[in-house]
């Protein structure tokens, strides 16, 4: 691994300054993805700004919801009593991700900023527009069975690997950010980008911007929720496809729905049209199948991932059935 400078500020502003003023500096929190990428030479920061001493790990109830500090560990969030009671979908998604050891290291902020696991992004001998802009996309004509079916571009067909983020986008989360130009709030759906012509940019964060917390509004999705993750092992593997589902059901009629898919796009994929299609419908498999058909409009497969065109709607229907029965 290349050498780097290491600094450990105790105030957010010092951390922000350190990264904003140095294009080769990176924040490090849990490190579960960054250390991996540095070992492989995919990322080579010259300076690491360790943010673990910043006071950003609290989980607290606010007037209109729950605020989760960016440094709260994935395991701590999944076990938190407020999260389990008010946002059980988030706990389910977190526990579907990684392993107990990794969840004890990975933070909320780091989880959402993890890089794609596209094998060509990791392979320095292959072209990759995300790793090295302008070199091409090896996945486009390569072994693309893990890749996107929504929102891909000619430049990049990678998917975002986070489970937690699929739940957060479904739950209308907001990301709180501090940066050189002050504080701002970003709707979770607007945090991640589609690849377009700039796949090297995963998110809309500006240089030096630090995620400080995530806000979750209070909602009615405390019971009929499910996170359906389909993977190639029983546990501890990235999703081929995942579905986060939250329903508000009264007298077997769907009053509100929140749906998102993971493993299908460069960002966690919210299904607004399919949500609308469910409102006022009975909570039956027929309704769920119709909504899944709406969800899949515009999907496009590549040579090796056509199976996702069937797997994604099936995972969604399974998640809806499980959630409705909960």
């Amino acid at each position: 691994m290349n050498q780097f400078q290491y600094v450990r500020p105790t105030k957010p502003q010092a951390a922000i300054d350190a990264v904003a003023k140095d294009a080769n500096a990176k924040f490090i929190a849990g490190g579960t993805n960054l250390v991996d990428l540095m070992k492989r030479g995919v990322m080579t920061p010259q300076k690491l700004v360790d943010i673990n001493r910043l006071p950003l790990a609290k989980i607290e109830t606010m007037g209109a919801g729950l605020r989760i500090g960016a440094l709260a560990l994935n395991s701590a969030v999944a076990d938190d009593k407020h999260v389990r009671a008010q946002h059980p979908l988030l706990a389910l998604a977190l526990n579907a991700g990684a392993s107990p050891q990794l969840r004890n290291m990975a933070t909320v902020g780091g989880n959402m900023l993890q890089r794609t696991r596209c094998s060509y992004f990791y392979d320095l001998s292959m072209p990759c527009n995300k790793r090295e802009p302008g070199t091409g996309c090896a996945a486009l004509e390569g072994v693309n069975r893990m890749h996107a079916i929504f929102g891909a571009s000619e430049q990049c067909i990678a998917v975002h690997p986070s489970d937690m983020s699929v739940a957060l986008v479904a739950l209308d989360a907001t990301v709180l950010v501090s940066g050189p130009k002050g504080d701002r709030r970003i709707a979770f759906a607007d945090l991640h980008r589609l690849p377009g012509t700039t796949p090297q940019r995963d998110t809309n964060l500006e240089p030096g911007e630090l995620i400080t917390a995530v806000d979750l509004p209070t909602n009615a999705f405390t019971r009929h929720v499910h996170y359906q993750k389909v993977r190639e092992r029983a546990s501890y593997a990235f999703a081929l496809v995942s579905a986060a589902v939250a329903l508000d059901i009264e007298n077997n009629t769907i009053k509100a729905a929140r749906l998102a898919l993971g493993g299908v796009a460069h960002k966690p994929w919210r299904l607004a049209a399919a949500e609308q299609a469910l409102i006022g419908k009975p909570a039956t498999e027929d309704s769920f199948r119709q909504a899944a058909a709406v969800a899949m409009q515009g999907a496009k497969a590549f040579k090796y991932n056509a199976y996702k065109l069937k797997l994604a709607p099936n995972a969604l229907v399974q998640a809806l059935k499980t959630a409705a029965a909960a």
Binding site: N2, R8, V35, S99, P100, M105, S235
Partner: protein
């Protein structure tokens, strides 16, 4: 044949070797270190400056013993334990957080020591497999792994045992299914899973202090 003015004695050999190493490591340092260190060296500051710049003081309590250390930032906790402190019970399997062989406890929580820089743990308490037994008396989980034959080649075993202890302490060993899920971060290529689950179930129901 001309006589060699400086016979090739072992002492000379050593000196030449040392000077070669010094030069080449200095060159390597130039190739690898950040610009500011290169500047410091170029301005005639000696190697000590570079060394102080590169290494960072670190206090850790490891298996109950306090250590004052000095490490390069890029040293992982795993490499510190194995290479500097010779605590080789913690294993390096994949080195990318995919196998769990490197599992240790940091402030009581199980983590992958391969994916963590040692400097990030300043002031924390580390427990490795060497710190589990009480003298010659094995920890109940170690006893149970022996009794149930919870291993074959043994390479993943230290990580399995550290993870298993945490699994019970966390309250995630309530059923076979829960144990399998919460032990999924530890891969055993020999396939001793059935016996590992049996060992954990025995400890969980045995009533001993874990």
């Amino acid at each position: 044949m001309a006589t060699n003015p400086e016979p090739d004695t072992p002492a000379n050999h050593d000196e030449a070797r040392r000077s070669f190493l010094k030069q080449s490591s200095l060159l390597t340092a130039f190739a690898l270190v950040p610009g500011s260190v290169v500047t410091a060296a170029a301005e005639g500051l000696d190697e000590k400056v570079a060394a102080a710049f590169e290494k960072i003081p670190l206090s850790l309590k490891i298996n109950g013993t306090k250590h004052k250390l000095s490490v390069e930032p890029r040293t992982t906790l795993l490499d510190l334990l194995r290479e500097q402190l010779h605590l080789t019970g913690t294993k390096k399997g994949c080195d990318y957080g995919q196998c769990g062989a490197c599992t240790v406890h940091v402030d009581g929580q199980r983590v992958n020591s391969c994916l963590s820089f040692a400097v990030m743990h300043d002031g924390q308490e580390i427990t490795t497999i060497e710190g589990l037994a009480d003298g010659d008396k094995l920890h109940p989980m170690q006893e149970a792994f022996v009794k149930h034959d919870g291993f074959q080649c043994g390479y993943c075993t230290p990580g399995q045992i550290m993870s298993a202890v945490a699994c019970v302490r966390e309250g995630h060993a309530g059923s076979e299914g829960e144990i399998r899920e919460y032990m999924s971060g530890n891969i055993c290529r020999c396939g001793a899973y059935t016996n590992i689950v049996a060992a954990i179930q025995e400890v969980k129901t045995g009533g001993q202090k874990v």
